[in-house]
Symmetry: C2
């Protein structure tokens, strides 16, 4: 079990409800899609070994690093940090810091993973708060939404940095030439919404950044696919993510109910089965799995805790694409450009831009 | 055209994209459902009169108050307030203050309507900020969500008051005996989320109020129907409302696409048509139209600006049910109870309750 390939990923084999099976089998699936990958599994080798040995092709490009502890799903980030040198999660992240792996994927506790990634890998220069991103399926283009939960409150500067992170991700990982970037708000008019959002808009209108600023967007613009990137604070983003997932389940539920409600409907469903099946495949949430932590100095991707092998393989591919396309180097460059423009744009100017857009609509 | 009935509603005949036709025809539909209603239409009588005369039963229980101005959909609330004595919206609200009508319904500019309602009707004693509520269809019970956009930022006390308003609405307008009330958050654990939400939870756990406090709920709990009432700030609520509406359109869109993708699928859709049609009727957003302004001292309901006659009739029925069930008197009573319990529960206690639930999960 040694690797001669150029792209090695560290996998937290103990994170997630279906670990380590989903992690190992997910790696096997990812390898069948991207033959250049190799893996280091961090976790209990007694559990990993038998699953890995059932996948000879994977075993040839993988090795196991036995670890003694693991982060529990309900553990507080502060408690989890104490296990940073012993746990499967902490050691997998450290492999990226030490240059042994190019990226890390974990299905474990999100808060702990973010805290450890920030502690072990540090932030990219110029980034105050990293953000969790994810791709949403929409009626139009797929849309990258961030932050999905790393920061419950954000200031204007955080939102501007998220816009850069999201735009670079959309550009070099999703292949969008000039991504349209919108700020999530309660209305599209300049005067609407919270002050930090209006301040971020005032800055984004006046700095060159790796996308096209589309102004404010609303909740319905996400499923509509109005823009390539939607920027919001981690509280709103987390609610939106879970609501969208829940609405997807709601729609399937009521459709299944309707198609089972009569013999005629059942016959119709049978005829339409291939089309409905294709729809289900297209919207399969597992295909959208993989929430990259953008702004961390190292590629770190969170897989959904409940995901299976297919879902985990998609998270692995997100990490692989970020590494292949040099995501972090590109972000560092864009942030340097931004800082120069922002120094030119004095904070006094932002204040005057803001005051011209009036006060909030409601008393 | 005079009214001998007991429940008169003031209608802003000029508010909304399809005004005044949707307003007048909506009133006709509402009257066919609730024969005890009567109406005063505020607006341009030259436009209203011909539509009204086509509905003799409605005309018998209605009168028109001619008004000279109207609030535009893009007008700022501060500018709209200057038209409070001349506009169809302002005069319809004033009819409630003056006791000429028991409630008001408008499809006009939401911000202007809230500002005018607060200015003309004032707030209920003990309520600091009124909230906009609406009912969401879910997999389980219908769920009342508030605030949907009146307050972009809320403190703990606001959220506690929203919980009372939502619980009373669920109880006496939606007929739920002991409504389950949840606070929208990014996780269900006590330590999760923003400080004001954790503080509101600490208060709600320790005061008697007209429902059962279910703790924190997440975005997916809305479509799941986990609780009867979901309480959140107006920013998050507005994003959630528009996202849920957009996800509904997204689901219909992809389903239509799938069912049109092949001859077999089209044949299946034809067989399943009655079932799909019933599903469409069940989820028709017009049936969920009508966002009451809870906490205003007078019944005021916002109809969606784009709604047609059916949608407007549903908003009218929401207003009628609030009046019939004495919503505001009941809220006043519950707020008195709450204030007494809260005085007993010193703010020091809230602080100690909070500190026991630790700090935020992420640095």
């Amino acid at each position: 079990m040694s690797s001669s390939s150029s792209l090695t990923l560290a996998l937290d084999a103990m994170g997630g409800d279906n670990a380590p099976r989903a992690v190992v089998e997910g790696a096997a699936l990812a390898l069948s899609r991207e033959p250049g990958l190799s893996f280091i599994f961090f976790g209990d080798s007694a559990q990993i070994e038998p699953i890995l040995s059932a996948h000879p092709a994977l075993a040839r490009v993988s090795r196991i690093e036995n670890t003694e502890t693991q982060v529990e799903s309900c553990e507080k980030p502060s408690a989890a940090l104490r296990k940073k040198e012993t746990s499967s999660m902490g050691r997998a992240i450290a492999a990226v810091r030490d240059g042994v792996a190019s990226g890390v994927v974990s299905g474990g506790n999100t808060g702990a993973l973010m805290a450890m990634a920030m502690f072990i890998l540090r932030r990219l220069p110029g980034i105050d708060r990293p953000a969790i991103a994810s791709v949403f399926p929409t009626m139009g283009r797929d849309t990258v939404v961030l932050d999905l939960g790393a920061n419950t409150a954000c200031d204007a500067e955080n939102l501007v940095q998220f816009a850069v992170l999201g735009a670079v991700f959309s550009k070099i990982v999703r292949g969008v030439d000039t991504p349209d970037v919108g700020l999530l708000n309660v209305g599209t008019e300049d005067m609407k919404g919270r002050e930090e959002i209006r301040a971020a808009a005032a800055i984004l209108k006046n700095v060159p950044f790796p996308g096209r600023f589309s102004g404010h967007v609303e909740g319905n613009d996400i499923p509509k696919g109005s823009v390539d990137v939607v920027v919001t604070d981690g509280f709103t983003g987390n609610v939106a993510l879970k609501l969208a997932e829940g609405m997807g389940r709601f729609s399937s539920h009521v459709l299944r109910e309707a198609l089972g409600s009569s013999w005629l409907a059942k016959a119709g469903a049978l005829l339409a089965w291939p089309a409905l099946r294709a729809l289900k495949v297209r919207l399969d949430p597992r295909l959208y799995n993989g929430g990259p932590f953008l702004g961390v100095d190292g590629v770190c991707v969170k897989s959904h805790g409940g995901s299976d092998a297919l879902g985990f393989s998609c998270a692995i591919l997100v990490a692989a694409h970020m590494v292949e396309n040099g995501f972090n180097a590109r972000v560092a460059e864009e942030i340097r450009n931004l800082s120069e423009s922002e120094s030119a744009l004095k904070s006094r100017d932002v204040q005057s831009l803001l005051s011209s857009s009036q006060t909030r609509p409601l008393p």
